[in-house]
């Protein structure tokens, strides 16, 4: 199967995060979803500085403190201890989500279970079993000038995550405008997936075969080039 072949040549999570980080301009206000998206913060290009927002009320927080030096009143939305950078600010939850809902963030980057060609996102729940938990995901998808997804191109079972219509419960409707995957960079425009970059080692048809909805060409398609990276552990 084409899919299996292409799974061998793909970006690591760190590389996907790196690619997403390249599109964040200097001075941008950015919210990174819990988990995998948090890796994006590590790969800010030299000379650019984004300001990171966390839902629980901090702007301009920094990396985790050394083990043993955590202040558990100073955490991020993932409940991990963080530090502050100069020029930080604290605020309460209503102000924090005013920043989100009010469109004050430049970029939000989220994980995905599925993204549909019209921009629908499913990322909070697989089915109807277990304990549901939504957190701030449904707010964040309406909260930034650019709402992007970083994700593997297919599931571990090889099923497409970019689909015509989400089958998992929706997080938001028509909210995603760009998807960074293990194999490609894809914009969502006029309810269609528009291919912007793909790994040079694969053909368009190979990528299309891994994708659950039609990929469109609208302008040039560049090679998706990402450096080898150290320290790829997602936390």
């Amino acid at each position: 199967m084409t899919v299996d072949t292409c799974e061998d040549i793909k970006l690591s999570n760190a590389q996907i995060a790196w690619r997403a980080a390249q599109d964040i301009r200097d001075g941008a206000y950015v919210n990174l979803g819990i988990g995998f998206p948090e890796m994006v913060a590590r790969y800010q290009p030299p000379g650019r500085q984004a300001i990171f927002h966390t839902e629980n009320g901090i702007l301009n927080f920094g990396e985790a403190p050394p083990a043993g030096e955590e202040d558990w009143d100073l955490i991020n939305a993932g409940k991990k201890a963080v530090t502050l950078k100069p020029g930080a600010a604290f605020f309460h939850h209503a102000d924090s989500f005013a920043m989100v809902r009010g469109g004050h963030l430049d970029v939000a980057i989220l994980g995905a279970l599925q993204v549909a060609e019209n921009g629908d996102l499913a990322n909070w729940r697989v089915g109807t079993k277990g304990v549901p938990a939504v957190g701030g995901a449904m707010d964040l998808v309406h909260g930034a000038k650019q709402v992007s997804v970083i994700t593997e191109h297919v599931t571990k079972k090889g099923e497409p995550k970019l689909v015509e219509k989400c089958t998992f419960p929706l997080t938001g409707v028509a909210c995603i405008t760009r998807v960074y995957t293990s194999h490609a960079v894809i914009d969502i425009k006029d309810r269609r997936f528009v291919l912007r970059e793909k790994l040079a080692a694969m053909s368009f048809d190979e990528l299309q075969a891994m994708t659950g909805a039609r990929l469109h060409i609208d302008g040039p398609v560049a090679d998706l080039i990402v450096p080898a990276l150290q320290g790829e552990k997602s936390d």
Partner: protein, 235 residues
């Protein structure tokens, strides 16, 4: 005029069975552990608890759930590093859950405090969390109508409190607490230190005293996250 209460037990003495109680904190950050435990000691049951989460480990809200005191949780994220207390009761059908997106939860609480009975938000439009809600279009875009959220009591943790109830918080421990102080009929606050009126700079007050009814000093408060990591259980 002095809002100081002598003891935790006195501060929570009139929280009766069936009460709706907002509890400050985001995970362990800002969790008023001593007040929660005082409420467990009091023995009130059939409580509706409003918090971002639904407890962690065997202390705080989790201990309250374990003790069978909570009829219903209103929260955005009932998961945690050790979610057994809520998960077990929920899967057994012994506790009710109203799941609310985090920003909507914050805004509903603020609306309760600000006398706004309903508002419209883009959040959750087209998702199962908007099922059955009023939808309206503004400027060509659909929004979900959400109602205010009020409570009989709020119990929160702050840093400094003057005798009039003016409060400051510690770092990101602020989170939902200033909103909950506004939205409850009776607001009960544990502070690390009670100071005379005039000791807090009027420019630095985060919660004005008008929103606060009772203060109790807990000079060296416990930190939920630290207790959980130490494996502490409250029984």
């Amino acid at each position: 005029m002095d809002k100081t209460n002598e003891s935790l037990a006195q501060a929570v003495a009139d929280i009766g069975d069936g009460a709706t109680v907002m509890i400050g904190g985001f995970g362990g950050s800002g969790a008023p552990i001593e007040l929660i435990h005082a409420l467990i000691d009091k023995g009130s049951k059939d409580l509706t608890i409003i918090n971002n989460n639904a407890g962690n480990g065997r202390i705080g809200i989790a201990a309250m759930i374990d003790a069978g005191r909570v009829r219903k949780m209103i929260c955005s994220f009932p998961k945690s590093s050790d979610p057994r207390a809520f998960t077990d009761k929920y899967l057994a059908g012994e506790i009710e859950l109203e799941l609310v997106p985090q920003g909507t939860l914050a805004e509903r609480i603020r609306a309760g405090g600000a006398g706004i009975p309903a508002f419209y938000t883009p959040t959750a439009y087209g998702t199962e969390l908007a099922a059955g809600k009023v939808i309206a279009e503004f400027d060509g875009r659909p929004y979900v109508q959400e109602r205010w959220l009020k409570a009989d009591f709020a119990i929160v943790k702050a840093e400094l409190g003057d005798t009039y109830g003016n409060l400051t918080y510690n770092k990101a421990a602020r989170n939902f607490s200033p909103l909950m102080c506004m939205a409850a009929a009776q607001t009960i606050v544990q502070v690390s230190r009670i100071v005379p009126a005039g000791e807090i700079d009027p420019e630095h007050v985060v919660t004005p005293g008008i929103f606060v009814d009772r203060l109790v000093e807990v000079a060296d408060p416990q930190q939920e996250e630290a207790l959980i990591r130490a494996g502490v259980a409250y029984v």
